[in-house]
Amino acid sequence: MTEPTAVPPADMETKKEGRTRLPSLLSGPAGRNVGLVLALALICVVGVITGGERFASIDNLMVVLRLASVIGVLAIGMTFVITSGGIDLSVGSVMGLTTVWATTWATQAMADDLHWVVMVFTAMAVGTVAGLVNGAIIAYGRVVPFITTLAMLASARGLAEMISNRQTQRVQSDAFIEFFRLEPLGVPILVWIFAAVSVAGWFLLNRTTFGRRTVAIGGNAEASRLAGIKVQRHTLYIYGLAGLTAGIAGAMMLGRTTAGTSTHGMLWELEAIAAVVVGGTLLIGGRGTIVGTVVGVLIFTVLTNVFTINNMSTSAQLVAKGAIIVAAVLLQQRFANRSKST
C-alpha cells in the first residue's frame, strides 16, 4: 500500500507529529486509502441494506466489475498523467477512435487472414500513437496539456467519424467475441484484464524508475530536470502510456459491445479523471496512487449499481456523483495546502 510521493513520506510524518494521532494517520498514504475503502464499504452496506440479495450476490459483483473494468483501464493510464502534473482530456475519444480503427473493413480482413489478435494490436497501436502525438506536442511543442489533449479530444472523435463514415461497425470475428466472453475461474475476461493492467500499473508506478520519475516530474519538473531526468522524453512516454491504456480499453469495449463506433467513450475522460482524483491522486501532480484509482472507479460503479437496484433516478445519481467529487477535491486541497506550507 505504499505509494510514491514527491516529498519523502518519512519527512512528512515527522512534520505532522505535533498533531493528534488520528489526523496524522488518516492523512498518511495508507490512511487515505483506508478512508476510501471505508467509503466504498459504506456504499456497499447501503447496497446490502436496500438491495439485500439482489446486491450481495456473486453475479451482481461481476456486473459491477464488468462495468468498472473498461473505464478502470482508462483511469490507470490517467493516473500516470495526472501524477506527472498533466491532464489528458482525449482518452475517451481516443478510445472511440481505436474501436473504429480496429473494426474497419481492412483491419477485420487482415484479422480474418491472420488472427483476431490483429484487432487488439491495432487498437493498442492506434491508441499509443495518439498518445505519443499528445506527448510530443506537450513536451517538445510546449503547449499546455489541457489544450493539447482538448484538441486531440476533438480531432480523434472527428477522425473516428471520418473512418467509420459515422456508422457502427460490427465485429465479424466470432473467435474475438468468444474470447471476450470467456470467464476463467468464473470471472469475466474483462475483469482479468483490468486486474492485470492495475497490477502492472501499480508495479510501474511504485517499483520502477519510470514511476519514480513520473512522481518527481509531477512534484517539480524543473528540479527533476536539474536532477538529470529527461523531462521531455519522459512526458512523451507518459502520454504514450495513457494512449496505450486507451487502446486496451478500446479492445475491451469491442469485446463488450461487439461493435466499434465513434460514439464510444463519450465523456469518459471526465469519468476517468473523477475516479483518479477521488482515488487520491493529486490534480497538481506529485502524488499518485493506483490502489486509490481502482477504489475510486469501484466507488462510482458500485454507486451506479446501488442506485439502479433501488430504482432511483439518473438525476439523483448525477448529484451524488458531483457531491463525491467535490468532497474529494476539498479534502485534497487541504492536503495540498498543508504540504505546501510545510
Binding site: M62, T168, R170, M253, R256, T257, M266, T314, Q317
Partner: protein, 352 residues
C-alpha cells in the same frame, strides 16, 4: 397531480372488477368477451381491452437512453405512465444513460434479478445486441423499441417507428408543394448522423424527392439538441442564400432551428418538422412561422413496449389480432401533420 392519480386508481378498481366479472361471464356463456376498444385515449388504462385486466404480477425492466431530449423524455414518461396503469406490472427503471457500457450493465443486472421481461431502447442497437442475446438465452423476453438490435434472436418482439417512412412522408409532402419547380433548393437538417435511424430517414427523404425530380441540395447534422440545431441552421442559412424547403428531422432540435431562422430573418421557404412536438403542432396550428407541417414519430413506442412486454410475460395475445401470441415486429405509422389535421394529433404531441 397525485390526488388525481389516486382518484384514477380508485376508479380503476371497480372498473377492473367489472371487467373481470365480464370475463367470467364470458367464459361461462361461451360467448367471446366484449372488447371495448379505446385506442385513442392514453390516460384511461382501466377501460381498455380484456387484456388489460390484472393477471399475474410481472416485473418488467425498462432501459432507455438519457432523457436529455424532449422526445426521449416523452418516451420514458409514457412508458412509466403506462406501467402505472397496471396493478400487475412492477416496473424496474434502469438509470437512463447514453453510455453503452453502462446500459449493458443495467441489462446484466436485470438478468441477475430475473425480471419477467425487458423493454429495451438501446443507445446503439449493435452494441446492445450481445447482452440482449444473453437475456433471451436466460429465458427473459426482450422487447426492443425504436433502435433495432442486430440479431433476430436478440428480441422477442420489436416496435419500431418508421424512420424510412418519415423521410418518405416528408419528401412526398415537399414534392406536393414544390413539384412544379425542378430546380428548387431543398435542405435537410439531420439529427445525429451516425445513427442508422438518421440514415434511414435521409434515404426515405431522398427516394421520395427523386420521385418528383428534386434532390437534397444541402444536408447538415444537428445532433438532436437545441444548441446543435441553432448552430447547424445558422451555418446552413449562411451557405444557402435562397432556399425553398427545409426538412428538419427532429422537433426538439427544431427549437434551435427556428431560433436561427428568426435570427437570420429568413422566411422565403417553408419547413417540415419531425417527431411531432406540441410546440411545433402549435406553430402549425397558428400558422405564425415557416413551419407548415411535421411528420409524426410516435413518442409512445416504449409505452407500447411495456404493454407488449406485459402480454408476453403473461402469455397473452394481442386483442385485435386473430393469430396467437404477440407479433414479432410492429412498425408504427408516420403521418404528416398539417394545419388541416393538426387537431387530431395534438393529444399525441409531446413537450420538448
Amino acid at each position: 397531480m397525485s390526488a388525481r392519480k389516486n382518484l384514477r386508481r380508485m376508479l380503476g378498481i371497480p372498473a377492473a372488477l367489472a371487467a373481470s366479472a365480464l370475463l367470467v361471464a364470458g367464459c361461462v356463456s361461451n360467448e367471446p368477451p366484449e372488447e371495448e376498444n379505446d385506442s385513442v385515449s392514453q390516460d384511461d388504462g382501466s377501460g381498455g381491452t380484456a387484456n388489460d385486466e390484472p393477471g399475474e404480477t410481472v416485473t418488467i425492466g425498462f432501459s432507455a437512453p438519457a432523457a436529455d431530449h424532449g422526445w426521449m423524455g416523452a418516451i420514458t414518461q409514457a412508458a412509466l405512465d403506462t406501467a402505472e396503469q397496471y396493478e400487475d406490472v412492477e416496473l424496474r427503471q434502469a438509470e437512463a444513460t447514453n453510455d453503452v457500457n453502462m446500459q449493458i450493465s443495467h441489462i446484466e443486472q436485470f438478468i441477475n434479478d430475473g425480471v419477467d421481461a425487458i423493454v429495451l431502447l438501446p443507445f446503439d442497437g449493435d452494441a446492445l445486441t450481445e447482452v440482449a442475446l444473453d437475456a433471451m438465452e436466460a429465458g427473459i423476453p426482450v422487447i426492443n423499441v425504436d433502435r433495432e438490435l442486430s440479431s433476430p434472436f436478440a428480441s422477442r418482439a420489436t416496435i419500431l417507428g418508421d424512420n424510412y417512412g418519415m423521410g418518405v412522408s416528408a419528401g412526398t409532402y415537399i414534392c406536393e408543394q414544390l413539384g412544379d419547380q425542378p430546380d428548387a433548393v431543398v435542405a435537410e437538417i439531420q439529427g445525429i448522423a451516425n445513427l442508422p435511424l438518421t440514415q434511414d430517414r435521409s434515404q426515405g427523404f431522398a427516394d421520395a424527392l427523386s420521385d418528383c425530380g428534386l434532390e437534397v441540395s444541402t444536408q447538415v447534422a444537428a445532433d438532436f439538441t437545441i444548441q446543435g440545431g441553432e448552430t447547424a441552421t445558422s451555418n446552413l442559412l449562411q451557405a444557402e442564400p435562397e432556399i425553398d424547403a427545409i426538412w428538419n428531422h427532429d422537433d426538439d432540435q427544431g427549437v434551435g432551428v427556428l431560433a436561427a431562422i428568426e435570427n437570420a430573418g429568413r422566411d422565403e421557404f417553408f419547413m417540415v418538422g419531425g417527431a411531432g412536438s406540441l410546440d411545433v403542432m402549435e406553430h402549425i396550428q397558428a400558422g405564425d412561422s415557416v413551419l407548415q407541417a411535421t411528420v409524426v414519430y410516435p413518442s409512445t413506442q416504449a409505452a407500447d413496449g411495456i404493454k407488449l412486454a406485459r402480454l408476453v410475460a403473461q402469455d397473452k395475445s394481442m386483442s385485435d389480432l386473430v393469430s396467437a401470441g404477440v407479433p414479432r415486429t410492429i412498425q408504427l405509422h408516420a403521418p404528416v401533420v398539417t394545419a388541416d389535421n393538426v387537431d387530431q394529433y395534438m393529444d399525441l404531441g409531446f413537450r420538448s
